[in-house]
Amino acid sequence: MNQQELKDKLSQIEDKLIAVEQPTENRIYLLCESENAYAANKFLFEEVPLRFIIATGIDGDGCFEILYHYAYDQLGFVVTLRAFIRDRENPAVESIAPFLPGAEWIEREIHDILGIDFRNHPNLKRLILADDWPEGVYPLRKEVKK
């Protein structure tokens, strides 16, 4: 696929996205609401297909964000799906680990540090926090001091 074909392919999930940004030539950001994240991820990983790199959880402005980073190595592109979770009280998003086992750890990690629930995750137990870390304290949330 060349650049244009990749963009055409990505435009197939246009209806699930809020916006598409391309700040530099080989970096694309796809913005979506968390409800559409599962379908969009499945399309990116299985249909395009892109290589999964990792996900980033962020306590953003008024909402949580999960950035799913993918690579299209033939062109050296990094495609990032930026999903917004608006519900700060009970933040949740559908897990992508059932079809992408490489995402199992990072979802557990984001659950640990930001307290986001990954629905239908096969094994959402603690990964990085110590056993005696108190329940309900999420170290990367903004209210936790540096």
């Binding site: 990792i54 962020i58 690579a71 990094v78 990032t80 992408l100 490489g102 990085i128």
Partner: protein
């Protein structure tokens, strides 16, 4: 009536007896065959992503070079790739070459280290002795360039901190010639050894499909026929201007990963040699005053695979979020695909074949909430002494008798 059968669980860890790092594998066994594996990590958290948010952009390279002593060129390089993307700056050409040389010297010493350890793990200590001996001059070169054998601290946003002096060039070239011969000898010794073929071929296979599903990277992916290498796919530093090739093996077993690493070491020697010969004149850094608001994805090919850094800036002098993904973080979970169904005796080398690095894997965690030390040196020492005393009492361990020694 339902019948339940108890299956033995073999605990390897939390302090791994062979790899000498903190990780905990629980292998469920059916006779000699591994039927399940559970990995526990996070015994060694340092909270680097959180600490990074408290540091200024130009302080972060020192922090991320301490993620892992061995990958201490790759992490800062991926980080500055991300920040330079936000700021829209490009380091001068000479800096790109210096970065390449240091990154490749790092790959050489890391791969050779692995070859030695892999030999040691399967009881072939000659390989271990050879490999570590040949690795030593590479560390000396790194010390001569950066002042440190590891933790080079050479990369900064906009360029490099130390230059490669011209008088060092002949020494680098000479050492590369010597090293190349030794690595060729080592490669032949490994690739032609029928015992190693018997021991490593067909062991711990990670199939191509599983390599993609588990999103593995680096030699672990290339050993399973996944043709990826950030140096070629999304070129940074000076890789696009040099002649080298990506080594890919389709088999997916431990032997394939060994072949990939050994041949890659020879490619790295080629890269270093070309980069030293082509090293352009000019400055090694440009001044970067401000980092504008924005986000950047930087990645680079560390010895163990792709290291990925995501940085977000709000226009201040510190990153508001800095996500780091070290290669072992995706390589280690692939054990579920490569170890289940294997003999327990083959698991050790299968686990070692991805060259796992736990200090890489465990970079996220928590500084004490109120910014206080939970334990300082003295209290840790006290805890340790109390524990030893307790064990001694419980198990009746002998105390060590100390006698006064007269000197002089």
């Amino acid at each position: 009536m339902k019948k339940t059968v108890k299956k033995p669980v073999l605990a390897v860890g939390p302090f791994h007896p062979l790899q000498e790092e903190m990780e905990f594998f629980q292998l469920t066994l059916d006779g000699e065959i591994v039927t399940d594996i559970d990995v526990r990590i996070s015994y060694n958290h340092r909270g680097i992503e959180k600490i990074s948010e408290t540091l200024q952009f130009d302080q972060v390279p020192f922090l991320v070079s301490r993620i892992c002593g061995i990958c201490s060129a790759s992490h800062p390089l991926a980080y500055v790739n991300a920040v330079e993307e936000i700021a829209g700056v490009k380091a001068p050409e000479r800096a790109q070459y210096v970065r390449t040389i240091i990154a490749e010297l790092e790959r050489i010493h890391s791969h050779v280290l692995w070859v030695g350890l892999a030999g040691h793990f399967i009881g072939y200590d000659t390989v271990f002795m050879w490999a570590w001996k040949y690795r030593e001059p590479v560390l000396d070169l790194l010390e001569a360039i950066t002042g440190n054998r590891n933790n080079y601290g050479n990369v900064k946003v906009g360029g490099c901190r130390e230059d490669i002096p011209d008088e060092l060039k002949p020494r680098i070239l000479k050492d590369m010639d010597t090293l190349e011969k030794k690595i060729e000898m080592l490669t032949k010794a490994v690739l032609d050894d029928p015992v190693l073929h018997a021991r490593l071929k067909g062991v711990g296979i990670l199939s191509n499909a599983d390599a993609i599903r588990y999103a593995v990277t680096g030699p672990t992916a290339r050993g399973s026929g996944v043709d990826i290498d950030v140096r070629r796919d999304d070129p940074y530093a000076a890789y696009a201007e040099l002649d080298w090739k990506v080594i890919v093996q389709p088999e997916g077993d431990v032997f394939a990963k060994a072949v990939v690493r050994l041949l890659e070491t020879l490619e790295s020697v080629k890269i270093v040699r070309q980069a030293v010969r082509k090293l352009p004149d000019g400055p090694i850094a440009v001044e970067v005053r401000e980092i504008p608001p924005g986000q950047g994805c930087g990645h680079g090919e560390a010895p163990r695979g792709e290291t990925f850094h995501y940085v977000r800036s709000d226009g201040g002098n510190r990153p508001v979020r800095h996500k780091i993904r070290a290669p072992s973080y995706v390589n280690v979970p692939s054990f579920r695909a490569s170890c289940i169904g294997q003999h327990v005796a083959d698991v050790t080398i299968t686990l070692a074949a991805v060259d796992p690095c736990y200090s890489c894997t465990e970079r996220v965690a928590v500084v004490d909430q109120n910014n206080k030390f939970v334990h300082d040196y003295d209290s840790l020492l006290k805890l340790s002494r109390e524990k030893t005393a307790k064990l001694r009492k419980e198990f009746g361990l002998p105390g060590i008798k100390m006698e006064d020694l007269e000197i002089g």
